[in-house]
Symmetry: C2
Subunit: 360 residues, 2 copies
């Protein structure tokens, strides 16, 4: 099979982790006789440097016309990189928001899974880590307060800023459907997270999710308040299968969920819309402090590429191959710096990519 992949290396460690993911994809091509054509697309700081904006219309068009998008990471350091002297809508992260909206990627899937080999890195108490957890946050990604109107104005001499959080039932229903579909292929449980004791948007959220649940009788639905969910993730993450939530809560909870694994260098993500292309990126950021030093962990990006194979190209077997290769390398004791522990064998970014591709 032949597919066109837009590759956004981005900033910081982006280029090195994407390079390793491509190494792995190339290996898959070789093994299975597929062809992946890569087109490099600029986004983030590198695009600002080249074009003055974090994502050009042309770059967006290229991405839209491809079969899928592989992203490293974008962003730099506030107060250090001159990108942050620009107004908000011209900063690196604005490119990310623009591509999400531009490609209609309303569903952000972020698995948080504790690898057996990495339990020692888990920041939770030993008995909680031992019990393990394997959850996925399904975050709405193109609505809510991220994309509502906002303004800052002087009212009677007083500076006032306003952001609008808005959801309609269709936006809620389509992400709810995704969550139930995913849950029905996992452990059949959806925890819908909102703040329905305060927000109208949360009450509509809960109602539409409740209606959607009727079409999935084998999936159990529970509702949880966002403050409680932030607690439960620490206390007993094993209780969760699929966490379904809106954009802002999803931003916070999915990051918390990745951190409780203790190995965010391992966690992929997928952002999907109604059709193609999907966007695949590691859960972690651009880590400019370690960029170019061969210290980054490419595994999250490699596993994001595996998600791409599975979700965008329907290549389950190929995706399994990549995931198994990652597990094999971990079992053999190889570790990048961020997940290094006693008795393990150090591997740089490049070597880790090579090791994984060799096991496919």
């Amino acid at each position: 099979m032949e597919f066109n992949i837009s590759v956004i290396s981005g900033d910081g460690i982006g280029p090195e982790i994407v390079r390793e993911a491509k190494k792995v994809l190339d290996r898959i091509c070789k093994k299975y006789g597929h062809t992946f054509n890569y087109t490099e697309v600029l986004m983030g700081g590198v695009s600002i440097d080249a074009h003055g904006v974090p994502l050009t219309e042309e770059a967006l068009r290229t991405a839209r016309e491809s079969d899928s998008v592989l992203l490293g990471a974008v962003g730099g350091i506030v107060g250090k990189d001159s990108w942050y002297d620009l107004p908000p809508q011209l900063r690196p992260e604005a490119g990310l928001l623009k591509i999400r909206k531009g490609l209609g990627l309303f569903a952000n899937l972020r698995p948080a899974l504790l690898y057996d080999e990495l339990k020692a890195a888990c920041p939770l108490r030993q008995d909680i880590a031992e019990a393990g957890f394997d959850l996925i946050v399904v975050r709405e990604l193109t609505g809510g307060i991220y994309f509502g109107e906002r303004k800052t104005e002087e009212i009677d001499g007083v500076m006032t800023a306003t952001d609008i959080l808005k959801y309609d039932e269709n936006e809620i229903r389509r992400i709810a459907v995704k969550a139930f579909e995913i849950a029905s292929k996992r452990r059949n449980k959806v925890t819908s997270v909102d703040k329905s004791n305060v927000l109208d948007s949360s009450r509509l959220w809960a109602k539409v999710v409740e209606e959607t649940a009727k079409s999935y009788p084998s999936v159990t639905l529970e509702h949880m308040l966002v403050d409680n969910c932030a607690m439960q993730l620490v206390r007993d993450p094993g209780q969760f299968d699929v966490i379904l939530t809106e954009n802002m809560f999803g931003d916070i909870l999915s990051d918390e969920a990745s951190m409780i694994t203790g190995s965010i260098g391992m966690l992929p993500s997928a952002s999907l819309g109604e059709g193609k292309p999907g966007l695949y990126e590691p859960s972690h950021g651009a880590a400019p402090d370690i960029a170019g030093k061969d210290l980054a962990n490419p595994i999250a990006t490699i596993l994001s590429a595996a998600m791409m194979l599975r979700f965008s190209f329907d290549m389950d077997k190929e995706a399994d191959d990549v995931e198994n290769a990652v597990k094999a390398v971990l079992r053999e004791g190889y570790r990048t710096k961020d997940i290094m522990s006693e008795g393990c064998i150090y591997a740089g970014c490049r070597e880790m990519g090579t090791l994984i591709s060799e096991r496919i």
Copy 2:
């Protein structure tokens, strides 16, 4: 000295934990020759049962005219208690929002402190727990999306819900001042948490906090994104002294911060305005499942009473007495059910209150 205290026992375990806090306050009165006059005020489910609303205007007036308010907890179980068949603005929790706004309690202080004796209960990895932490979340409590306009309407046949997040510079400045004042009596560090890469209100927040910082040259200010803060609380809570944030983020982060102690039955809170009265309540909720069984931990409420002595009545010595009595009882090995561990001595709610008051 003589003070008038409004006592809101509320629902669930509210009455039993408040009873023990009063036992301790009575002991302080005896020791120091103070007089505290208590007036019982209805709020939450009990008020709905009596008056059809979670807080009457008269109850609010009583609270406003007192020197301070001691609150147990309000709320029941959605889907079980008939209170939740009422529209949102008539449910138990609406009473809480109404009293906060009605008393102008814009500053919510929530300490999260790991007691040496309770480190085993901490859900974080042993080395993180051993390192310890002692932070306080300063949450804005009368603004933001909690109190903006909201509506649910049909637009072209599609149900749409909107909530407005609004802050003006004065609201931000007064809570920032509180945070810097508190930090300058602690470890001189403020971490201001926002989502300034997305929200206008967060950008105004960061700017005003930055300006406010200039008046506190001995306090270090750092800015952190809310998603990152949710991660850092799990990874390295010891890095925080004062976390300053807006209402909704504060709701989520303060709950997460209490949970990482593993003993939320120990954590008090204070909500303060410009003048009197302040409101003091445990960080935990009404726990209806264990109500009336003498199983509740009264310590959070007792420590809230200590905060009342300190902040509302300027009774530092008396507050110290209460806090030391709590520590003494813990050191002697007494534990309520929620914090029980091997080798400790079980105490019910009532006995725990007695033990603490006896040590004053």
